[in-house]
Amino acid sequence: MIIAASLHFINLPVCSGLCGCWIASWRKSWIISVFLGWPSSTSERSSGDILKFMQKISFSADSNPLLLHVMSAGELKDQLYSCIVLAHGMEILASGKYLEAAQIFKEATSLSLSMKMQSKIFTLSGVCFQNLGKPQTALQSFRRALEADFSCLYALYQSSLVYRQLGMADAEFETLHLLCRAVSVPEKRDLIFDDLKLIYPDKLLRNPALIKMFKKPCITSVKYCLAQRSLESGRIDDAVEHYLDLLEVFQEEKNQEVFIDSIVSLPRIPEIYLEAAASLFKAKKFWDVTLVCEEVIKKIAGIVPEKLTIAVPLKDSEGCIPPNSESFFTQLESCYQKEEYSETVQEQKNEKLNCILWTAAAYFYQGWAFTELKDTKESITHLSRCINLLLTVHIVQSDGDCINNSETGKITREAVKLLHRLKGLAFVRRGISFMERGQEKEALLNFQLSQQSFPESVDGAFWLLEALWRLGRKDEAVSYWQKLQESRQSVVDINSIHRDAVLFLLPQQELSTSDLETLNKKIEEYRSQAKP
């Protein structure tokens, strides 16, 4: 190879520069070809195992003395080697061969490396163990990484994930708090010896995945992470605190933080607002709920469509049926359909649907908050707004369209499910408000509508029975109750339904089991009375 031959005459720094470029773009064969000129055993060279090959390379220190001032040849070799290990390991990690990757990283830990490099290698091996289902070992690795260099915050974040996996909530929150504090403190650029060097691994390693991984996460995302976990794990007060903190960050005018592309990705911003509203609701700060929701409504109002037609497939798992007949008209029709439901159009529609859902959810929370505040009139107004908004969505059943099986189609289906659910909930809440105002007939109608749009709702069923009972239509109630009992046995438990719901529509567990029991008792009694 001509390049290799000519490289005999080029000194080491030039080669390292070349390698740096190639490590960044990961051109393994090129790197090997560079070092072919150096004395090493032929077996490694022929095998193509770059790591072994690199390990065996020995540099003589008799090179130009001027160059030694920058970096000694041995040191440079170590750096190059560690960089290659990282790049190579990342490649294997990305391909899912966790065991192999872990072995590579483990071998690398034996090298004398800079602290930063060590922490990176420990973190990566931790990730490998995490994926291999060895959380404790992973935690050990992360701990060692942090010991080596505390600025490696990715390790901290990953360990919080491991703690979550292990169900160790306290440890998880402690880690997250630590992370939050680490992020908030402005980074002190203390001049370590590493930074003064002209050649250091960060310069050689320009692997985008690595850069992204070891970048300092932004405060906003860490705070969100904390808030979300608090809400999920029921630490309502913490959640409220963190959410409000987060919203403050969003609205603060002087906040000029830039956050693009972080390890923890934020959900859509309106959802954060709604999650905040949910946490506030749980903390029974109803006025605050209305205020937060008002913000959402105000911001989105401009782009909420007056009506929306959206196509949803009949069945979830329907295969894509290619058109059999090749007649002109069907072709035309399919063309039309493709155009109509092209990906971008569908995406735009999804976004519009999202806007409707967010606004409706905001109205829903407002309405509910007013119910809690015993302002039934306001409550009914807001819930009506929510329902009216949800009713502007016209759902069309499309059959066998390819789009509906794609990713966007799935998103649409999820959104439509959510829409029905929200509709059901809204009807229930409005019904309750009517009940409280003594308008039982209207209430009953709302409960019935609720059951239509969201039959799985326990609340809906309970309140429907309650309404029937109060109206004196006990026979109807009993028959409905019987039907419900039968269906409930076949249907999976209620919790599963709640679990797959989005965070901002938390399971509203205000129905205590005692309520349910009293109702059950009532009906059982009536039945036993009626039977004889």
Partner: protein, 819 residues
């Protein structure tokens, strides 16, 4: 529209380097009190509006190609080619306070050192200031990088890189380094949702959009986060947007919603400008994209029942657009030829403000009237952001290719016709205006047409004149007889009997035998030069000039003019007649009446001949023989009439030489012609050898004596000789114009051979000549002797007088011998 007037004030003059794509690095920024100019060199000048002069000139290490002002921190950020971004703190406020009185203070020149370079990166092509961040876009090979720099500690100058993102390049777009392509830096600007209460005043490329449009374009998240959105317009026409606050998992796929950069629009031509227009109470309602080749995209909100949509309205103006800026309602842009303004009024606002929905046709009409207008300022290469004055005027600062920094003030015009709907009266007026405009234009067009026509005619005329000149010249170079196709002139003296009075006229006949037309502008000029033979002391020449304008002389036509000869007071021995064709160049430029008037006066003073071409046609001598009045002439055979020759003596000499060469053995005969002119019986005789005469008179007919034919030949050019047939008699009596009678007598006589025997030999002739020479030498000696005598101061003795008299007599008696 038409009443948009602008006033241009020249502020300063700069050097403007003339290299290709100089437009890319010439920028003008203005604020309330200062104007900053980078003129494509390493200098950045600061002009004070109060002091009306340049106050500071900064010299950078490299070519300054982009600048922005941070008015809060009084900083000027300048991007230097091959170096990076420099920050210069302006100390202008101090200067203004302390030295405001000192007008005409010297210009400070500051050399900016490399220490002022805050971001060292030679790959940076463009930058923008956003809040306390600096965002740069650079390109290295095929990788575009957007970097975000921030200063963590406020007040410090140091900037740290916060983020570095690769701007994707679509695979199918080739960014060629072709030199023919336009080179310009990527256009960066920053958009805020209007929700931001205080608009950051940092830099001019920050603007707000109304929240609805903002949300539609950049998403709900950006609105809810009040995120500034960076817009990057690239050379390949792609306009990307990047919300500064977003959290997505990064993918390189542009089409996915998860990409950090998302494409707003593909303009298809280099992006020249991104701006916002048409503000309402919520913010700017239109986002504007302008391409280099004149494509303008207005992005507005379109109301739709299924949700509002951003509407991309495309229109095209005549490009290439060199520099653009937008005000609230107008775009100001410069093309290589002119500075233009384009009103873009809010049509959607109109439709909502009017009672009913405005019909689409009307909107189209409004669009139609929204056409660009010229401001009649040419060669502008940089335009600043326009500022609206309180008076409603718009003020622009511009920089021209000639290096002039100028302030352009544009008056808005009395009526806001652009934004309001046109009433019928206004429409009528506008139509009238347009029609009168069309009329003016057509008048001008016809005028220009006629001018072109006349110029063409002139050229044709000039061509013909030139042809004629060439023809005449070539004919003169060759011998006259060779060219038949030319313009000839014949001159004949004629007696005219008019009103019982005889007058002698000279008739010139101009014969056009060429194939060209002699047109207006040509003149025949006849000059008669005569010599008086009166005995007055100074016998002077006098001449008369006659010009005759030629109206039109077609081929094969003849024009005849007469010139009076007898009107000359004195009689003359002979007259020289010069015939000349003159062309006056005024004839080329459409010969008019005043030109004709001019030549009446001007030819007396021959000054005007300088503007003319003179082509001599003919020179002829008219002598007494030509105008003798012949009485009782006998008939002469017609054949004898020889073709008119110009000079008899010439002929003589010509023929004689011929004779001498070829027939010198002939015995010379003397032929004597005597005629008396004066009443005192004057006799003159000429002796001509018969041989010569014989040669000359080739067509001697039998029956006529030699002497008679000689007389006939002598009188051949006389016009009367044609009328009367000459007699076969050798004696002709005639009357001179003065009424004296004259007799021409020809007789043949044998020459007395004086000294030699062999008379016919040339030796004899030589001897004879020698004799004559000797005689004249003796005479000369005698005269000299007398003269010497006189010189000695002696009195003239009677002896001397006698001697002189005898010498005179001998001289008189000497015969004119023509050999």
């Amino acid at each position: 529209m038409a009443n948009r007037r602008c006033i241009v004030d020249y502020l300063a003059k700069f050097h403007c380097p003339l290299y290709e794509d100089v437009f890319a690095s010439v920028h003008v920024i203005q604020n309330e009190s200062f104007i900053y100019l980078c003129n494509g060199t390493e200098f950045v000048a600061v002009y004070s509006k109060c002091e009306k002069q340049i106050v500071v000139v900064y010299q950078f290490p490299g070519k300054a190609c982009l600048m922005e002002e941070d008015s809060k921190q009084h900083c000027l950020f300048v991007l230097c080619e091959n170096y990076g971004l420099f920050s210069v703190i302006l100390h202008l406020k101090d200067r203004f306070s302390s030295e405001s009185q000192q007008r005409g203070a010297s210009i400070d020149t500051c050399r900016v050192s490399l220490d002022a370079c805050i971001i060292k990166d030679p790959t940076i092509h463009s930058f923008i200031l956003v809040q306390n961040l600096i965002i740069t876009v650079g390109q290295k090979c095929r990788v575009r990088t957007l970097s975000i720099f921030g200063n963590p500690q406020l007040g410090q100058v140091s900037y740290e890189k916060i983020e570095e993102l690769d701007v994707p390049i679509l695979e199918n777009v080739i960014i060629s380094s072709d030199k023919k392509q336009v080179r310009m830096p990527p256009y960066l600007c920053c958009v805020y949702p209007h929700g931001q209460k205080q608009m950051p005043s940092r830099g001019i490329r920050n603007f707000s959009l109304e929240p609805q449009l903002f949300t539609l374009l950049f998403g709900v998240d950006a609105t809810m986060l009040d995120s500034p959105v960076i817009l990057c317009g690239f050379l390949d026409g792609q306009v990307y947007y990047l919300p500064l606050r977003q959290s997505v998992t990064c993918t390189d796929d542009l089409r996915s919603r998860n990409s950090v950069f998302r494409m707003l629009y593909h303009l298809g031509q280099p992006v020249r400008f991104i701006g916002a227009m048409l503000p309402n109470d919520k913010g700017n309602s239109t986002l504007l994209l302008v391409g280099h080749y004149g494509k303008i995209i207005q992005i507005k909100t379109e109301y739709h029942c299924e949700g509002s949509l951003p509407n991309f309205i495309e229109r095209n103006i005549l490009g290439p657009v060199i520099s653009v800026h937008s005000s609230a309602t107008h775009i100001y842009y410069s093309t290589p030829s002119d500075l233009m303004t384009l009103p873009l009024s809010n049509t959607s606002e109109e439709s909502t403000s009017s009672v009913s929905d405005a019909p689409a046709i009307e909107n189209n009409l409004v669009l139609f009237f929204q056409s660009p207008h010229s401001l009649n300022v040419c060669k502008i290469i940089a335009v600043s952001c326009p500022t609206e004055m309180q008076t409603g005027e718009v003020e622009l600062v511009a920089f021209s290719l000639a290096g002039k920094l100028m302030k352009i003030r544009i008056s808005r015009g009395p009526s806001k016709t652009n934004s309001s709907r046109l009433s019928t009266a206004q429409t009528g007026q506008r139509i009238k205006d347009l029609l009168s405009g069309i009329g003016n234009v057509s008048d001008r067009a016809s005028l220009l047409k006629s001018k072109i026509q006349s110029k063409n005619d002139s050229l044709k005329r000039l061509n013909r004149v030139f042809n004629i000149c060439c023809m005449l010249q070539s004919c003169q170079e060759r011998k006259e007889e060779n060219c038949k196709e030319t313009v000839h002139c014949h001159v004949v003296a004629k007696w005219n009997h008019l009103l019982l009075q005889d007058s002698l006229n000279l008739t010139c006949a101009l014969e056009n035998s060429s194939s060209y037309i002699l047109e207006e502008g040509w003149m025949l000029c006849v000059e008669v030069k005569s010599q008086s033979y009166s005995m007055s002391s100074d016998s002077k020449h006098f001449s008369r000039l006659y010009t005759f304008p030629i109206a039109k002389l077609l081929p094969a036509q003849t024009m005849e003019v007469s010139v009076p000869l007898s009107s000359l007071n004195d009689l003359f021995l002979y007259a020289l007649v010069h015939c000349t064709l003159i062309y006056n160049f005024q004839g080329i430029l459409g010969y008019q009446e005043n030109g004709r008037q001019q030549d009446q006066n001007s030819f007396v003073s021959s000054m005007t001949f300088k503007n003319c071409i003179c082509l001599p046609l003919k020179t002829q001598t008219v002598d007494i023989l030509d105008y003798l009045r012949l009485a009782n002439l006998a008939t002469l055979p017609r054949e004898l009439v020889i073709k008119p020759v110009t000079d008899l003596v010439d002929v003589f000499l010509n023929t004689s030489s011929h004779v001498i060469h070829h027939c010198s053995e002939q015995i010379p005969l003397k032929r004597e012609t005597r005629f008396s002119l004066e009443d005192g019986n004057c006799v003159a005789s000429i002796k001509v050898s018969t041989e010569l005469l014989k040669c000359g008179l080739t067509s001697t007919t039998s029956g006529v004596t030699f002497a008679a034919s000689t007389v006939a030949w002598l009188l051949s050019s006389n016009s009367e000789a044609d009328l009367l047939s000459l007699p076969s008699h050798p004696v002709v009596t005639a009357t001179t114009p003065t009424g004296k009678s004259i007799k021409i007598h020809a007789k043949e006589l044998l020459m007395n051979l004086k000294d030699s025997g062999g008379g016919a030999q040339p030796a004899v002739q030589m001897q004879f000549l020698w004799g004559l020479l000797h005689q004249s030498e003796v005479l000369a000696k005698k005269v000299q002797e007398v003269r010497d005598h006189l010189c000695l101061g002696l009195k003239i003795s009677s002896e001397a007088t006698e001697k002189l008299l005898s010498a005179y007599q001998q001289l008189r008696s000497m015969e004119l011998v023509i050999l």
